[in-house]
Symmetry: C2
Subunit: 336 residues, 2 copies
DNA sequence: ATGAAAGCGCTAACAA
DNA sequence: TTGTTAGCGCTTTCAT
């Protein structure tokens, strides 16, 4: 212990045993007498010894670290998933790296390199980028996709909401409430082309013998925050078509709030003239007035199932390729 | 490269040089011919070699990792700081561990152990726990406190808003608006006893020759989410005193929203009868109606200054002990 | 300009 | 039950 932290050798010396014995005690691995155990543990405690994970990793090729890639940790939904992922994983002795990809392929690629270099045992990835695919193939690290996943990565275990079903339910809720003309406000851009939510919206229409017009589907470009853009898009729609609709299904709460703002500005009553449903059941949906009906996706369960799948992978077993976490529609004022 | 990833030895072999030379090229450290450099880099590129950080850490006692301790990453304010911290640090080649302490001393202590074990080069800590002190002392890891810090850790570099000043400004804003009787709704519990925001509230009163009554200061216990508790506390106050006040300074937006809900339920108009100011300028303050006047604290700058201080520390220099990030009052409908 | 070799702290195989 | 030792991949003297 010349300087810095004590090493396993210092402990061995102080306890009058070999380093191997100390290692065995620490890892509760192999045989040793009760007396030895006590003595070693005592020395460890007194000296404030903490194992050097770099050395351990080097030896065992396991770091006890997990990488978590999210588009933006400051986003309500992702940070909530992150909280639960970290909780879950910390409970299993893992530490979690956060990586903000910003939906940028280049950065995502870099994170994969860095995480590989740091020997992470696994990666939990929230990404819809198809470019992710290449990274996944080259890295041999166990990866689980949560929430969204690239179309091209069909072989990666994934945990998500059943967005098609949830969106269909949300749309049917509006139909049940008497809506005759329902707009779809998409909130996704980039590669995330699966459009499950749009599919659900279409399914609901089909099931009721309806067919949405092209102009009923409104797409955000991603140039601005979706709340802002949704507001602009609805305002523009109103300019062009007038208020010829009586329902909006927005595929995110951000977008829903934008819609609400546009409607309020236009003097259109919600839910009186137009009923509105959002997605994610975030704080957003509870703070506005009227409060917004929204699809609760249970971030805690998404996280729990995601970690479960990853841990299964880490144990060498094979988790289900696809896991769905149930959703529920939380009815609030905006669709009364 | 028997199995798994290629090591520096494999690269050396393939390039027909020694491992030392490869190391020199990788780290651009020491002398080597241009031709050698090209050859090595070519092999590295073709083989997909990524350095093993465990080995590098073991040798150099540097991990390129930073720990970030926050009470709860799903909280709007913390996740926003975290986003910017990670951005900043990733730009400098560091990876960031997130650690959710939940304001729990025991968990915080464990995180310090784990992070020590994982050789993090530094820690950014958002914690008001006085127990933090002991951990700080035993770990020799450079630490910077952001936003809040324990009273006892006066020797740790810290970056925060000037909460006293900001709170004084917020309170004076209410006074300027004509408020005669202003309540203070605290939103802090646990060890975080500095009560800077309360101090600012008191200062403003003193500067105007006023003296708040004891019953004007309302404290949250932390038993429930502060939004809920604030609502209950204001409701109780109204039961006991009636609406004898015309202003509230809430030391967080969460609490402010709770206040707003209580007032709405009681049929009290904001800002007509009561003016309200919150703190943090979070999404909360923008979504409610009326929108809430709030103190913007610039999470990006808090993060930037925090990282700056930590990097200074890592370079062996001494950062200022205390750094203040400017705040500004964002005026909205609730205090018109 | 380059190579040989020691050693960072730890685990695990092998000995005793 | 315990000790000895090789070696994980890398950086860094010290030679050459």
């Amino acid at each position: 212990m010349a300087s810095g932290r004590p090493s396993i050798r210092d402990i061995a010396q102080l306890a009058g045993v070999s380093v191997a014995t100390v290692s065995r005690v620490i890892n509760d691995n192999g045989r040793f007498s009760e007396e030895t155990r006590k003595r070693v543990l005592k020395v460890i405690d007194e000296s404030g010894y903490v194992a050097n994970m770099a050395a351990r990793s080097l030896r065992s090729s396991k770091s006890g670290n997990i990488g978590m890639i999210v588009p933006d940790i400051s986003n309500d939904f992702f940070s909530s998933v992150a909280l639960h992922v970290e909780r879950e994983l910390a409970g299993q002795g893992y530490s979690v790296f956060v990586c903000n990809s910003g939906n940028d392929a280049e950065r995502e690629k870099n994170y994969f390199r860095t995480l590989t270099s740091k020997l992470v045992d696994g990666i939990i990835c929230i990404s819809g980028l198809n470019s992710l695919n290449a990274d996944l193939l080259t890295s041999r690290i166990p990866v689980v996709c949560v929430d969204r996943y690239p179309d091209s990565a069909r072989f990666v275990p994934r945990v998500s909401s059943d967005d098609v079903k949830a969106s269909r339910m949300a749309t049917e809720h509006l139909i049940d409430r008497g809506c005759r003309h329902i707009l779809f406000m998409s909130s996704f851009t980039v590669d995330y082309g699966r459009r499950d939510r749009e599919a659900g919206y279409r399914e609901a229409h089909a099931a009721h013998g309806r067919a949405p017009k092209e102009s009923d589907l409104i797409y955000i470009t991603g140039a601005k925050p979706s709340m802002v853009e949704a507001e602009e898009l609805i305002t523009r729609y109103l300019d062009e078509h007038g208020c010829d609709f009586d329902g909006i299904f927005a595929s995110s709460d951000h977008a829903a709030v934008g819609c609400l703002n546009a409607l309020r500005t236009a003097g259109i009553d919600v839910p009186g003239q137009v009923r509105l449903v959002g997605y994610d059941d975030s704080v957003y949906s509870r703070l506005t007035s009227p409060q917004i009906t929204s699809v609760q996706r249970h971030t805690d369960q998404l996280a729990a199932r995601g970690c479960e799948a990853l841990l299964t992978l880490l144990s060498g077993e094979v988790p289900p390729l696809e896991t769905f976490v149930p959703t529920e529609l939380v009815e609030r004022e905006s669709s009364r």
